[in-house]
Symmetry: C2
Subunit: 133 residues, 2 copies
């Protein structure tokens, strides 16, 4: 796979902003450095990078797919307030760590999806609560 300017910007954005951007956000970033870049190219590159195993889609609800350049095994935290998705360092699940089957199913991988309020939003909400008192 060649490293074209557009492809580079896509990858760079994902690595620099571990906030798991949507395709649109990446398109905006690419567009800032190269206003002629197109959405199709962003999608092409995201798929190319996914096939190469450098990027993956995130399993979180929401209309727009989010992408992740973190290849290391890790969990995800979803802020229910702002929608941001953050990486959480890996920890094993004792129930699954040494296990390759579950009922008749073959287990290949697993991850945790944790939901709550991110640090920024927590602080904001706390501020607002103070104001009300």
């Amino acid at each position: 796979m060649r490293c074209t300017p557009q492809r580079f910007v896509v990858m760079e954005h994902l690595m620099r902003h571990p906030v798991h951007a949507t395709a649109e956000e990446i398109y905006q970033a690419v567009n800032r450095t190269d206003p002629r870049a197109s959405r199709a190219t962003v999608y092409n590159n995201l798929h190319a990078l996914m096939k190469a195993g450098l990027v993956r889609e995130l399993p979180v609800e929401g209309n727009a797919t989010r992408f992740d350049a973190n290849v290391k095994r890790h969990h995800h935290f979803v802020c229910e307030n702002c929608g941001r998705v953050e990486d959480i360092d890996w920890f094993d699940s004792p129930h699954l760590a040494r296990r390759s089957t579950l009922g008749g199913r073959v287990v290949r991988d697993y991850e945790m999806v944790i939901r709550g309020t991110c640090e920024t939003c927590s602080q904001q909400l706390e501020e607002e609560a103070k104001c009300l008192n």
Copy 2:
């Protein structure tokens, strides 16, 4: 919230088929009993049921949203072969069970997303492997 025929069919389908249907699949089911039913109504009802806390969206990748009428806490298994999503009985994560924060984050809930091959697909793949020998 009133229990209209259409709303009933939506809820019934989700409860009877714990395979986490997409909106389209639910629409097909509703349509079978009432050919005049519209997609808009299915979406209306899915949202109404979600607001009422009887149904929720699933955190799995894929273009079409999947819905779940299982309110009990549980994990999810995603078949990488056929895309089916199955419920897995709840088990705690020792890392998270008694914890309400994670870094500066407030944790409200968590769940496991397990990926692999479902029972049906495993058997099929095994069959095919046998044939090749």
